[in-house]
């Protein structure tokens, strides 16, 4: 099941690159993503074994990735209708092929039980996403892609070095060979690993995968990539990609923590993660105010939430890790919903091309279409983390755990969360209810806005009425990785 879910999109990509018309490509894209979604759900029954197998963490996030992949493909289908005349057939071929490569490598990154394979998955996804970002071929899209590639390349290089050091650190416990690269074996034998080497490896990995997760010193690519790339691919699929990087960091963090608590020579991972997490949170909080482009604005919001998750992992303990994972899940759902409805909003105002997402251009959306405007408002409100948003639950857990475990950190955390929420709320009012630009005409909503509503509803259900099976699964994961 799992292998097919990974290999199918990767194998199908070259064929999507040959397909005759953009429309057929979009249909094939939806069909493939649909099959992959079913497979990621079916994986709960057959998680597989060996080099590529899904543990509980992989299963949960794989399911969300499959779901987001499917809704993104559907959104792409509608995006095509507006954007088709702007781009040539060749661009669309590349676009659809890259959607599938990103989907396949994201799943590989989640399901791989091998630190080398994980690295390869992240690398593949980076290349595909770069090609995707450069697709509009405008000067600024190419700049964004170049920035992404250079920063991504640096991150990939550091992550590979860290990966090799983890292997070396595992030598005393596991000896040469495949077992020293398997997450399962590494986690089980973390106590016997060379602690100081593992610390060095963790720092490199934190900065390496931190680049993909857009944690602060290496976050520069994300707002540009969001704002300049083709709307559905870069925005919705980069959510799951951020999850892959954060989960990788979480897994390596656990090795370090286990080594530290069992008396090894490793340093505790908490301070590293807390620092990067808080730095990301505050950078986002202070960057919000000056953004005029909505997609760039929400790019900074992704940096914020990535920082919150890293912060939660830094606090440590089963409950905080649970909060962090829940936060990632909900954020993926809400953010991809938001970015999808943003494409709709831009379409209501005439064009979905990059550069048409300015707040001044979109403001007063309710005068164009009530339903779309309200869904957009709901999604934005969801991001603030105020109740009844799903993120309220995860942020509440994280704040409570912070007060309990490292009270000094709760003050900056609370301040950062507050600043971010205020910044988003300030933009919400004018964007949804403000005065529309002159000559705005009411327009009809499109059916895929319902998908966005589904996303939001799902996030609320997951937060406030999570099925007990899922709670059990996530708690087990958090307990194992605390």
């Amino acid at each position: 099941m799992i292998l097919i879910a990974i290999i199918l999109p990767l194998l199908a990509a070259p064929f999507l690159g040959l397909i005759g018309s953009p429309r057929q490509g979009a249909i094939a894209n939806v069909a493939l993503s649909g099959i992959v979604f079913i497979l990621t759900i079916a994986a709960f029954a057959a998680p597989g074994s060996g080099l590529v197998h899904a543990d509980d963490l992989g299963l949960v996030f794989g399911g969300v990735t499959g779901f987001t992949g499917l809704t993104t493909a559907v959104a792409s289908f509608f995006y095509l209708r507006e954007a088709e005349p702007r781009l040539s057939l060749r661009r669309w071929r590349v676009y659809h092929a890259m959607c599938q490569v990103v989907l396949g490598s994201t799943l590989l990154g989640l399901y791989a039980d091998n630190i080398g394979l994980l690295w390869a998955a992240v690398e593949g996804a980076t290349i595909a996403a770069t090609l995707g970002v450069s697709m509009p071929r405008t000067a600024s899209a190419l700049e964004a892609a170049w920035k992404y590639f250079i920063l991504g390349g640096v991150g990939i290089g550091l992550a590979l070095f860290g990966t090799m050091l983890v292997y070396l650190a595992a030598q005393p416990a596991l000896g040469p060979g495949f077992s020293a690269m398997s997450f399962t074996a590494l986690t089980a034998h973390a106590a016997g690993m060379d602690g100081s080497l593992l610390t060095l490896a963790f720092v490199l990995i934190l900065f390496g995968y931190g680049t993909k997760a857009a944690l602060v010193p290496l976050h520069g690519w994300l707002p540009d990539a969001y704002a300049e790339g083709p709307a559905p691919l870069t925005t919705s699929l980069s959510g799951p990609l951020i999850n892959v990087a954060l989960i990788a960091i979480l897994r390596f963090r656990h090795m370090l923590e286990a080594n530290f608590t069992s008396g090894g020579t490793a340093l505790p991972p908490g301070p590293f993660l807390l620092t990067l997490g808080l730095a990301s949170l505050f950078l986002a909080a202070f960057s919000f105010s000056r953004r005029r482009d909505a997609r760039r604005f929400f790019g900074f919001s992704s940096i914020e939430h990535s920082g919150i998750a890293a912060f939660a992992f830094g606090i440590g303990g089963a409950a905080a890790v649970f909060g962090g994972l829940l936060h990632m899940l909900l954020h993926t759902l809400i953010k991809s919903a938001l970015l999808q409805v943003l494409i709709r909003a831009a379409a209501l105002r005439g064009s979905t091309a990059p550069g048409h997402y300015g707040f001044s251009h979109l403001r007063g959306l309710i005068h164009s279409n009530k339903y779309t405007a309200l869904v957009l408002g709901a999604a934005m409100f969801g991001l603030t983390g105020l109740p009844p948003s799903g993120l309220f639950v995860s942020e509440f857990i994280i704040v409570m755990q912070t007060i309990q475990r490292s009270p000094w950190a709760s003050l900056p955390l609370g301040l950062g969360l507050l600043l971010c929420a205020v910044a988003i709320l300030r933009n919400l009012g004018p964007l949804v209810f403000g005065h529309a630009p002159p000559r705005t005409k009411p327009a009809k909503a499109t059916p895929e806005t319902h998908l966005v509503t589904l996303h939001l509803a799902l996030s609320v259900v997951l937060a406030f009425a999570m099925p007990p099976m899922l709670v059990g699964l996530l708690s087990q994961v958090a307990e194992a990785l605390k």
Binding site: G116, E143, G157, L165, L168, D194
Partner: protein
């Protein structure tokens, strides 16, 4: 055993020296030559490690390095330089002296960080790792101090040489050949130059100063 050690260290040292001289070199053509020699030495180092560790995988890595990185990539890079007529291109993003001093500092950091934390590891790996990390950091420094896209790519190529150097020194590590292939794919994307040609198309030069364009527009 002692010959294994000293030869491996010698080759690592040569790679480091060439990585360092990339910093002070201003002409693109000369940077490419330096990179090429570095790649040649790297492939020799891979063959030597393959012989010492009795690993077929490492021979394969050496062969890939030799054919693609030491021969094919430099040819491609030279073609780009000739095509864009950049043979005499000089670009100064940072004074050479300053970047050299920072480079020395980075090597110091690499040694100070790696040597104490690898006391228990086999000593062959230990010093090799310090050298490899230095090469990686120097390559990153080249990437950050150059404005020219091609010079940044050469910095990246050098970084990647450092990574392969670290990988071949790991005792019995699986996937070494696969890693170098995966890295090559990345490099191929860079060099074959979706970007180079498109950037040329839009910016008219390979100078990436314009990359701050987005920032200035404040979007």
């Amino acid at each position: 055993m002692s010959l294994t050690f000293s030869l491996a260290h010698l080759m690592g040292g040569i790679i480091l020296v060439f990585g360092f001289s990339l910093l002070s070199q201003r002409r693109l053509a000369a940077m490419i030559t330096i990179y090429q020699i570095q790649a040649f030495v790297l492939s020799a180092a891979a063959f030597w490690q393959g012989y010492a560790q009795h690993e077929v995988n490492l021979y394969l890595t050496g062969l890939i390095t030799l054919v693609i990185k030491a021969i094919a990539l430099p040819i491609g890079l030279r073609m780009i330089v000739a095509k864009f007529n950049m043979i005499r291109a000089v670009e100064t993003a940072m004074p050479v002296l300053l970047s050299t001093i920072i480079g020395v500092g980075l090597i110091g950091v690499a040694v100070l960080v790696v040597l104490p934390s690898t006391l228990s590891a086999v000593s062959l790996t230990r010093e090799d790792l310090a050298i490899a990390l230095s090469v990686v950091l120097l390559g990153l420094l080249v990437m950050t101090t150059r404005r020219n896209a091609l010079a940044q790519i050469i910095g990246f190529l050098s970084t990647e040489n450092g990574l392969v150097l670290a990988a071949i020194g790991m005792p019995g590590m699986p996937f070494v050949a696969e890693f170098s292939v995966a890295l090559l794919v990345l490099l191929a994307f860079l060099v074959v130059g979706v970007f180079l040609f498109r950037i040329r198309e839009h910016f008219d030069t390979l100078d990436l100063t314009g990359i701050e364009e987005i920032e200035r527009r404040g979007r």
